[in-house]
Amino acid sequence: MGVESRQTTRIIHGMWYGFLVLVGLTMVIPFLWMFSASLKPRAVMKVRDSWYENWVPGEDVTWITLDGEPVRVKKLGMKGGMLGVRVVETGPREGRTMRLRPEEVTEEDAYFARTDDAWNSPAAPADGVKVRLFRTDSAEGALVTLPGHALTEESYLAAFLEETAGWTRVQEQRRDTFAVEWKVIERHPRFGEEFHFPPEKVHEEWREHLAFGNYARAWNAVNLGRGYLNSLVIALVVTFGQVFTSSLAAYAFARLKFKGRDILFFGYLATMMIPGAVTMIPVYVLFAKGPAALDSLLNTTAFTSDLFLFRWIELGKPLGIDSYMALILPGLFSAYGTFMLRQFFMSIPKELEDAARIDGCGSFGIYWHIVLPLSKPALATLAIFTFIGNWKSFMWPLIVCQSSSLRTLPVMLSYFQGEYNTEYQLLMAGSMMALLPVMIVFILGQRYFVSGIRLGAIKG
C-alpha cells in the first residue's frame, strides 16, 4: 500500500469511468437521435454518407443565381454539356397561416387544369394548350399537354399583405365565428421556369435546417394536447387513488386484527401471479355490457349517453368502454402496492401507535397522523412507480380508447405509424414531448425511487 498503489487505483478508476461513459453513451445516443430526427425537415429522412449529415438536421439545397439572387432549383438532366434545372423556389411566406377578416381577401382569376382526377391549380398556358402545373407535390412544375377543354379559367383567392405591400395567394383553412384562417401559397415570380446552365454554375450544398415546426405540426396532427391532458389526469388520479387505497389496506393487514386477515392477504399475493390476459377479457366485457345493464336496472339513460364538460369538452361516456372510468377504475387496486406498503408498515415501531392509542387516537387517526407521515419514502416510491407505469401503459388504453378525444399519449403516438409510411419526424417530436413529464417525475423523485426499490427487494 503505497504511492504505486494509488496510481494503479487511479488508472483502474479511469478505466471504470471510461466503461461507464461508454455504456452511458449507448443508452443516451438513441434518445439523441430521436431528438435530432424530430427536428429534421420533411423530405430528409434518408441515410447519408457523412455522420454529420446523418445526425444534424438539415436538407439538400440545389440553387442557381437568377437576376442576382439565389433561387432554388431542381436538377432535370444533362443535355449537350448543360444541366437543365427548374425553379422550385417557394416564397418566404409559403405555408404561413394567418387570420384575416373575410373582406380582406379578394378573388382573382387564374387558369385551372384537371389532370388525373384532381384539379391542379393554378396552371398557366405555355404554348397553345401546353400547361405548366403549380402544385405542391410530385407533379410540381411538370409540363403537360392537355386537350383544350381541360383548361378552365377560374378564380382563386388572394390577400393583400401589409408587410410586402403586395398581393399573396391564399387558401382557406378553417372558418369559425370570429375569423377565417388562411394559408399563404406564395411562389417565386419565375417559379416553374426551366433553364440550362453549365454544371459548375449549379450549386449544391447541405444546409442545416432545424425544423422546430415539427413539434407544432405533431401537436396539431393528432391533437397531442388532449392526449397529454388525458394521460396526465388519468395517471394522477390513478396514482393518488392507488396510494390511498393501498395504504389503507396495507395498514389494516399490518396492524389491525380481524378474521380472515391472513387468508385474504395470501389471496392478494396470489393475484400477482395471474397474467393480465386472464382478467382483461372479463373486465372488458364488464365495461362493454355494464352501462347498458345498469341503465335497464335503474331505468335511466345516464350511463350510455355522452358527457360534456362546459358543454363543449367531450368526456366520452360516464362508464363504459369509451370512458375515463374504464381507464381509471381498474388501476385503483394494486396487490403489489399493498404488499410493499404492508412490509413497510410492519417495520414502524409499535410503541408510537400504542402511545397514540393511549392518547385516545382511533385507528384512522393513527393511520393518518402517524403511519402516513413516517412512511413518506415508501409512499413516494409507490406513487412514482404507479405514475410511470400508468403513463407507459399501452395495451389497456389501446383496447379501451375508441374515440380520439379519450386517447392517452402512447396510443396517440402509435397513430403516427401509417400503413405504408411513418412520419418519423412527427413521431419523434411527439415522443420527445411525451417523454418530458415522466423524465421530470423521475429526476425529482429519484432519491425515493432507489431507496424504495431497496425496501421492496430486501423485505420481499
Binding site: F19, L20, V23, G24, M27, V28, P30, F31, M34, K46, T245, L248, A249, Y251, A252, F253, L256, K257, F258, K259, L264, G267, Y268, T271, M273, I274, P275, G276, A277, V278, T279, M280, I281, P282, V285, L286, K289, L329, P330, L332, F333, A335, T338, G362, S363, Y367, K392, F394, M395, P410, L413, S414, L435, M439, F442, V450, I453, R454, A457, I458
Partner: protein, 390 residues
C-alpha cells in the same frame, strides 16, 4: 369480558372498512374476472351473439392449434434471454457499486430506457433495425448467419443441458457421492451441445461432410438468405433482434437497481476477511457476493419469469406487427405455414379476443398461460427456495 369483546369487534369492523375500497377493486377487477374467464374458457362467445356452452372444445382446439404452440415457443425463446439480462444487470450493478464519484448520474442515465414510454423506444429500435435507414440494419449481411441462427434453438440447448445435468446429479446421488454439483454446471453440457451444433454447421458447409445433428445442415443453406430484408423482417433474426433490444434496456433497468441495493447491503468486513485469507476477485465473488445475492436473484428470476410469459405484446404490436412469417426449418413441424415469428402468446390472445372476437378461445388460452405461470413459479419456488441462502 364485554368491553374486550366490543373492542375486538370494533377493531374488526375498522379493519374491514379500511380494506373495503381495495377489496372491492380486488373483487370486481381480479377475483371476479378470474372466475368469469374460467367460465368463458368453456364457452364460445363473440360479444354480439349470446354465449354458447361448448365444454372442452376450446381446449381441444388449443392442443391441436399449431399456431398456439409456435407462439408459445416464441414466448419461451424470448424468455431465454432472461438469464443473460440478469447477468448483465448484475455486472452493471457491480460496476456501479464501486466508489466512483457521480454514480448517481450514471444510474439515472442507465435507467432512461425503462422510464420512457415504450412506444418511443420501440419505434426507435424499429428504425435502427431498418435495412435502409438503420444504423444496425445496414450492417447485417456481414454477420455470420450460423451463429445468430442458432439462438432460436437456445431453449433446446438449455433444456438439454439441464437434462444432462440432472441425470449426472441423479447418478451421483445414487452412488452416495460426496460431490455436490452446483446448478450452474448445467450450462456446461448446454454450451457443449451448442458448440457441437456450430462445428457441425461449419463442417457441412466447408468440408461437404454430412450433418451430424438433424437439421443443422439447413443452417448452412441459409447463408445469403438471412438478413436480406432487414433484421426484423428476417424470420431468423427477428427474435434475436428483440432480445438485443431487451439487453439494452435491461442493463440499467429495474433488475440492476435491485442488485445494486442488495450489493450495498453486503457487509464490507466479509470482503476484508477474505482478502486477509488471500482470496482472488473471482473467489470473493463466488463465495461471498453470489451466495448473499441469492435472495435477490431468486426474486428477480421469479418476477421476470412471470413477466416474461406475459410480455412481447408491445413489441409485436408496434414494431413487427406480429412478425415475419416463419419459414420451415427441419426441426420445427410447422414448415410452410404462414405463422409469425415474433408473435407471443400475449399478442395472440389479444388478437383472438379483440380482433377475431373469439373470446372463449382467448380465455382458454389465457387460462393455459396462467396454469403455466403457476407451475413454473411453483417449480421456481420449490427448487430455488432450497438454494437460497439467507
Amino acid at each position: 369480558m364485554e368491553p374486550k369483546k366490543k373492542r375486538r369487534l370494533r377493531e374488526a369492523l375498522t379493519g374491514y372498512s379500511f380494506i373495503l375500497p381495495n377489496f372491492l377493486g380486488f373483487l370486481v377487477f381480479t377475483s371476479g374476472p378470474v372466475v368469469a374467464s374460467l367460465c368463458l374458457a368453456f364457452a364460445k362467445w363473440d360479444i354480439t351473439t349470446p354465449a354458447e356452452f361448448t365444454g372442452l372444445d376450446n381446449f381441444r382446439v388449443l392442443f391441436s392449434d399449431v399456431k398456439f404452440w409456435k407462439y408459445l415457443w416464441n414466448t419461451l425463446v424470448l424468455m431465454s434471454a432472461i438469464p443473460v439480462s440478469m447477468a448483465l444487470a448484475l455486472g452493471m450493478a457491480m460496476v456501479l457499486n464501486q466508489k466512483l464519484k457521480g454514480r448517481a448520474v450514471f444510474r439515472t442515465i442507465f435507467f432512461l430506457p425503462s422510464i420512457t414510454a415504450g412506444i418511443a423506444v420501440y419505434i426507435l429500435w424499429g428504425r435502427l433495425f431498418n435495412k435502409d435507414f438503420g444504423l444496425l440494419g445496414r450492417v447485417l449481411p456481414s454477420f455470420p448467419a450460423r451463429v445468430v441462427c442458432s439462438i432460436e434453438a437456445l431453449p433446446i440447448y438449455l433444456a438439454a443441458g439441464l437434462v444432462v445435468f440432472l441425470v449426472c446429479r441423479l447418478v451421483l446421488d445414487l452412488k452416495h457421492s460426496e460431490r455436490e454439483l452446483p446448478v450452474s454446471y448445467f450450462l456446461l453440457p448446454a454450451a457443449g451441445l451448442w458448440l457441437v451444433m456450430l462445428l457441425n454447421a461449419v463442417l457441412s458447409r466447408w468440408a461437404g461432410a454430412p450433418a451430424l445433428m438433424p437439421g443443422s445442415g439447413a443452417v448452412a443453406a441459409l447463408e445469403g438468405v438471412a438478413g436480406r430484408s432487414g433484421w426484423l423482417n428476417d424470420p431468423w433474426l427477428a427474435k434475436p433482434s428483440l432480445m438485443l433490444m431487451g439487453f439494452w434496456g435491461a442493463m440499467g433497468g429495474y433488475n440492476m437497481i435491485l442488485y445494486l441495493a442488495a450489493l450495498q447491503n453486503v457487509d464490507p468486513q466479509l470482503y476484508e476477511a477474505a482478502e486477509i485469507d488471500g482470496a482472488s476477485r473471482w473467489q470473493k465473488f463466488r463465495h461471498i457476493t453470489w451466495p448473499l445475492l441469492t435472495p435477490t436473484t431468486f426474486f428477480i428470476f421469479v418476477t421476470n419469469c412471470i413477466g416474461g410469459f406475459q410480455g412481447g405484446f408491445e413489441s409485436a404490436y408496434i414494431m413487427t406487427g406480429g412478425g415475419p412469417p416463419a419459414t420451415g426449418v427441419p426441426w420445427t413441424p410447422w414448415a410452410g405455414e404462414t405463422i409469425s415469428e415474433t408473435t407471443t402468446l400475449s399478442y395472440y390472445i389479444f388478437n383472438n379476443a379483440y380482433v377475431y372476437l373469439k373470446m372463449g378461445y382467448a380465455a382458454s388460452m389465457a387460462w393455459f398461460l396462467f396454469l403455466l405461470v403457476f407451475a413454473v413459479t411453483m417449480v421456481n419456488w420449490k427448487y430455488g427456495g432450497r438454494r437460497v441462502v439467507y
